[in-house]
Symmetry: C2
Subunit: 485 residues, 2 copies
């Protein structure tokens, strides 16, 4: 029987790293011998006692090294015969050697824009950070660690769902119980869940054109037929919706993205009746319905009718911060059994952090969210007005503005020989972030070109009032100076 060629000098020389336990050094050495093919398949290893004598060490580290090699399958044990090298497939590469724990660098990448007209940015200095920290610390101190650190409710913490039901009722006219509230970290997991929930009810969904392209893409990837329906002056064309035969529709009735159109009450009621009659469902996206600068917020579609067939999507990204990662949807009661079935099938957890949920519950209960909302409405209203004034001053008759009065952005339109893409690149080269509206449009290829009308989405939340004026002045200089219009 072949014996493993244990080279005493080699092993002894190897056993010199006093920072690593002896058995680990032995184990690594033997693993390497086997992996490299130096110790052949079926060769017998020296007995524990014999190797101990050979190396002049105790039997314990050798026994431990053998046990580890055994567990990983490098050697096998035969009763009353000893340990044997196992056959490994011909390994066409070197097995890795274990290395020490490196402390890596912290890379940071910066996308810096001097003037950032990002459509959903906010001035976060106004966020009540001290109060948030205190609420977080109180949560951690007042709850038992066993309650806090184990898995939470997959649907979202019940206390937060109660607060959200109240909040949505008061601020958005939404009618629901906490049982209808489903919490997630951001729009995607909730939209994905909706695309799974609706599968038994139909296979075609109408979407607003233009719109935020995440919604059509989620449903397209789930195998739905996605039907773009134009947005008219009073919202999605209900004539085209009716004739499309779609089973579902996504709308943003209180502040259509990106046009800013508000759907009037008559159209809302007609839409609710459409859902009632066809057995369809409406997905109401209401990301920033809390922010309206002249007059009160437009109440949600969902709450207009008892037990409406509306899936309502709301969240705290705009109201507080996207970094908290709390978004919610409110399901019609009729979909709750489907939701619970899916939750069990897929072993779903809540994607929103439990600790953040508990902190936010407290924040809502103690009135901080309401207070912050009131403050931000005033601040954003001033910025909104300043952006409109700046565009009028610096672009004059060259630009038109639409979609004002709500949310965090408006639209700027101008006629220009350069493409939207080129104009965006020009602006970025001058340190200005603006977004062309191109990505929100679903046009047949042959309609893509032709006109020289260019449209951009300009957010006003992230800049200070004076920066808005300076940014627009530079943007006008950059765009209007690029060619003689």
């Amino acid at each position: 029987m072949k014996q493993v060629p244990v080279n005493q000098t080699e092993v002894t020389l190897l056993l010199d790293d006093s920072s690593v336990p002896l058995y680990v050094q032995l184990y690594r050495y033997m693993k390497q011998q086997i992996s490299a093919g130096h110790w052949l398949h079926a060769s017998r290893l020296p007995s524990v006692r014999r190797l101990a004598e050979l190396l002049g060490i105790s039997t314990t580290p050798i026994e431990m090294a053998y046990q580890q090699l055994l567990a990983e399958g490098f050697i096998a044990s035969k009763p009353r015969s000893g340990y044997f090298v196992q056959w490994l497939a011909d390994v066409p590469f070197a097995l890795p050697v274990e290395s020490a724990y490196p402390k890596g660098p912290i890379l940071k990448r910066h996308h810096y824009f001097k003037y950032d007209f990002h459509m959903s940015k906010n001035e976060y200095e106004y966020f009540p950070m001290t109060e948030w920290r205190k609420a977080y610390n109180r949560c951690l101190q007042e709850n038992s660690t066993a309650d806090m650190l184990f898995y939470g409710d997959p649907q979202g913490e019940e206390g937060l769902r109660c607060q959200i039901a109240n909040y949505a009722k008061h601020f958005r006219g939404v009618a629901c119980t906490p049982e209808q509230v489903i919490i997630g970290s951001d729009p995607f997991p909730l939209l994905d869940l909706i695309s799974r929930l609706l599968l038994p009810y139909g296979k075609s969904i109408a979407v607003e054109n233009p719109c935020y392209p995440q919604q059509p893409e989620v449903f397209r990837q789930k195998g739905y037929d996605v039907i773009p329906i134009p947005v008219l002056e009073d919202g999605i064309s209900q004539h085209e919706l009716q004739s499309s035969g779609a089973a579902f529709v996504t709308v943003s009735p209180s502040h259509q993205f990106p046009t800013g159109v508000i759907m009037p009450i008559s159209r809302r009621l007609a839409l609710l009746q459409w859902a009632q009659e066809t057995g369809g469902f409406i997905i109401e996206d209401d990301a920033d319905g809390e922010f309206r600068y002249y007059g009160r917020p437009i109440p949600s579609l969902q709450g207009l009718m008892p037990d409406s067939r509306v899936i309502y999507l709301g969240g705290f990204s705009q109201v507080l911060s996207p970094a908290l990662g709390v978004k919610y949807m409110i399901l019609p009661k009729v979909l709750l059994p489907d939701y619970h079935r899916l939750k069990f099938q897929l072993f779903l957890d809540c994607t929103a952090s439990k600790l953040n949920q508990m902190t936010l519950e407290r924040f809502l209960r103690e009135g901080y969210v309401e207070r912050h909302l009131r403050k931000m409405r005033m601040i954003l209203r001033r910025k909104h007005d300043r952006l409109i004034g700046s565009i009028q001053r610096h672009f004059g008759e060259h630009a038109q503005i639409s979609g004002t009065g709500s949310g965090f952005h408006l639209m700027l339109h101008l006629n220009h020989p350069l493409s939207e893409e080129d104009l965006q690149t020009l602006a970025e080269a001058r340190g200005i972030r603006v977004s062309s509206a191109a990505y929100t449009r679903m046009l047949p290829a042959n309609e893509q070109s032709g006109s020289d009308r260019r449209s951009f989405i300009l957010g006003f939340g992230g800049l200070k009032e004076d920066e808005i004026e300076a940014g627009i002045e530079r943007l006008a200089d950059c765009w209007l100076g690029a060619v003689s219009l």
Copy 2:
């Protein structure tokens, strides 16, 4: 032309709630009149001036109420004619009346078990909560709010990805760069992403049988053929895998769930070669590979070969707590372009909370995770031994144990005339949570019954050592006493 019948007395009586702004009271009144059909379609509203005189109030609140009704579409404005009631579809229900902001109750539901052998619970009193709170507070204090509160990197914060790459290398033998690390809140969003990423590469996936059923379900719902392959003594049957023709396979090689089988090195190498030769991918689930109680952790499959075709899944639910919501996967470099394309298409955000990510980065960098891991290994080893001893003492020859030595659970088997479901119910009635292994099996219907061998998954992390002994004593009493065995 019809005029709206404004009833002066009624309106005046209504305007008595001094806690609500006058214009809101007017707006609500008029909205209700229109919704209820008291004010007919196309009727003209009194002019602002006339109504102001009639009610004896200033014109401002009336102008504001009209503007709000206009924005919501209850009335329309015709130049030089005034305001007219809009046509509403025949509303077969009362439009909701806005209500005050209720402060809801906080419901709490308790699922209390005196002896909770949950398979992934831990004793969270050992969690370094004070250090976590301090790290969180320092994050919030040291970073600018603008950096912290805006959207983070959709792939996960770069600093944390660096720390995770180091951690995975040191503790799990994983070879990767931070560019390959994708962070998410929990297994589902990452598995869902994998199911989308792999679509272009094949449509059939082999899964271990038994296994955690989330994986097959995610792939099944995405339209894959799911092929269950039996788990043998050395892991998934590679003979059956080869002949299945599957393009992908999910395995848990370092601690198979639920059997606890460890896949030996020869099988691991064969599996890597299978992926190499077929162009397939291996999904390596390594939820608790850090915890091995006699000997060192078994290094991951992913790191055995340079640029292996392995998608590695790791996380901090077991190491720290599931409530932090940080899970990660490590993609082969060859899949990174697909990932980035999908990320843009679906407008993905990171589901893990940015604030928790930043805190965890600091926690890893400062060595708290490593220290906690060492401590928990010792504590869990004692509990593991105690559970085995307790079962031997109280069940004697009636039970067999398998899958020991790693992780947070082992398996207990016994022959019993009652079904696993009934035994579980019996235990729960006595305040004991144990989980039957039934849900991990994918058996053809005709193999479901027959034997009277019953298998259970018993976690040992969540109970104190003495509670383990008492819980097992009660369980033996409950099960062995139920019938004479």
